[in-house]
């Protein structure tokens, strides 16, 4: 029998990943907004919108409010540090006259898909199942449009969504020296782990903070994906998973199966 890994040129793939800059790749950050003026982001944020209730209706409107929480700015900073030439597009779905409803998340995700974003970073999720069908349909819609959705797993191992859907990349957090290091978890709904423990990332107002959480592991994978998308033409969600599998650091010698447990 042939080990499937023999069919891939892993060294070549690493070279491609290391050389990628994210050029030409549009990345949506669906989060708390982004402080686009932060020096660390170097003007990479090309648009800022927010999903808000106007009466009973949800609308997506240009946002000038930046990021009053800091979560989205940290994610943007991590993505930019890994894919400095990627275009970042901020979409605020948490805050602004509602504390972050499922409806806002769905509306925001739909907006990002309609805007033809190549990669969508969702460092958030929900433990509620009441809108799972709609959320699942949207994530599938992105999949069929060849848009890659990267999302954070729940830190406490609660079943959360969309992280438990198979058509996207769900990310757990671990501590790694190299921000491009990832682990693969065979047979787990959360397939990938990336660096997400005390990550130095920008914070609104030109500051920096140290963050821990799956929210900050997720943009590491988004950055890595943006690098690959900028180097490999027409890369689809179907193709990206085997590439990430090849790039995993928890490779078992002799072609064995990785059983890495979810750590957080």
């Amino acid at each position: 029998m042939i080990d499937v890994e023999e069919l891939f040129d892993v060294e070549r793939l690493w070279q491609v990943a290391r050389e990628g800059t994210g050029r030409g790749v549009k990345v949506a950050i669906v989060d708390t907004g982004v402080d686009a003026e932060h020096p660390a982001l170097e003007g990479a944020v090309k648009s800022s919108h927010e999903v808000a209730f106007r009466g009973r209706e949800l609308v997506c409107q240009p946002s000038t409010d930046g990021d009053p929480v800091g979560h989205g700015t940290a994610c943007a900073g991590i993505i930019h540090s890994l894919a400095p030439e990627a275009e970042l597009h901020s979409l605020r779905v948490i805050g602004h006259n509602a504390a972050g409803s499922l409806e806002q998340l769905l509306f925001g995700l739909k907006w990002a898909i309609d805007q033809d974003m190549h990669v969508i970073n969702l460092s958030l999720g929900t433990v509620q199942r009441r809108m799972n069908t709609a959320l699942h349909d949207l994530v599938d819609r992105a999949y069929f449009k060849s848009q890659i959705v990267v999302t954070a797993a729940n830190n406490q191992q609660h079943v959360s969504f969309p992280a438990h859907f198979a058509s996207l990349i769900a990310v757990d957090n671990q501590s790694f020296e190299d921000p491009l290091t990832i682990h693969y978890h065979l047979g787990q709904p959360i397939e990938i782990a990336a660096h997400g423990i005390y990550v130095k990332a920008p914070s609104p107002g030109g500051k920096f903070r140290w963050y821990t959480g799956t929210s900050f592991a997720c943009p590491h994978v988004t950055g890595l994906v943006a690098r690959l998308v900028s180097q490999i033409s027409g890369l689809t969600p179907f193709q990206i998973k085997p590439l990430l599998w090849c790039l995993r650091a928890n490779r078992v010698s002799g072609g064995g199966l990785e059983t890495g447990a979810i750590t957080n």
Binding site: A99, S175, N264
Partner: protein, 252 residues
């Protein structure tokens, strides 16, 4: 013959009942406070607190707070933090735990009012099935200990504490609702006594009927106007009310 109203101080009895019920709720809060106090050495933090959302879900208020310095708890218990402008609110909205070091702009009003300087900050959601009941916060290292971020073991401890807080918070919410119903029942009873014979002879006049009906009508109208998160909360509360009503029907 002496009337019932002359033989006892009915309002005082009602007040005593209300006071006893209030003390039951205090005991639930004491229980949560003890949990947070016990959590401090486990998470190795100086301050710990539980925050719960207001009715509209726009702010988180401090429900219990355990602090290393006297007077701080009294200050924070008067405060609330906006969900859309704070890390605690972000954790409440997303259900995603966040630990931070040097969170100098996490939501400065708390530090400004307490005089504390937050340097290590861990916010853990209190998740009950599909619902986030609130957040637990763990702040700073105990005095004299090196300022270092919360490690993985401590973060895991915070998750266990949040899991234990679920039962207490659920109980607290139900007790709060029961208290409102109880006080409403008491209020109605004392009003009947105060009304005397005239009121007793009039079972339900038109005005009372309107009063009884209008809150329900108002709830239905208000429900329509509510944002989806508020509707969810209302649905939850109505569910509890419905079980209460069913319970009453069986008891009667």
């Amino acid at each position: 013959m002496a009337s019932a109203n002359q033989s006892a101080d009915w309002p005082a009895l009602a007040e005593m009942m209300s006071d006893r019920f209030g003390r039951l709720i205090e005991r639930v809060l004491d229980n949560l406070r003890e949990l947070l106090a016990a959590a401090r050495p486990l998470v190795n933090c100086a301050e710990s607190a539980l925050l719960v959302p207001n009715a509209k879900g726009t702010h988180l208020r401090f429900l219990v707070s355990v602090n290393s310095k006297p007077g701080v708890a009294e200050i924070v218990m008067q405060m609330s933090v906006p969900c859309d402008r704070s890390i605690a609110g972000c954790v409440f909205s997303t259900g995603q735990l966040i630990a931070m070091a040097n969170p100098d702009d996490f939501y400065q009003e708390v530090d400004q009012k307490t005089g504390l300087k937050t340097s290590e900050y861990l916010v853990t959601p209190v998740v009950d099935g599909e619902e986030i009941l609130g957040v637990a916060t763990f702040v700073n290292r105990p005095e004299g200990q090196p300022r270092e971020p919360f490690n993985q073991r401590e973060i895991e401890c915070s998750v266990r504490v949040a899991d234990l807080a679920v039962a207490g918070l659920r109980f607290y919410r139900r007790m709060l609702l029961q208290q409102k119903l109880f006080e409403s029942d008491l209020h109605r009873a004392t009003q009947r006594f105060a009304g005397g014979a005239a009121a007793a002879n009039t079972s339900l006049d038109d005005a009372t009927q309107i009063q009884d009906q209008s809150p329900l009508a108002r709830v239905i109208m208000d429900l329509e106007k509510m944002s989806p998160p508020d509707q969810e909360l209302a649905a939850d509360l109505l569910g509890v009310l419905a079980s209460h009503a069913r319970g009453n029907a069986m008891n009667w």
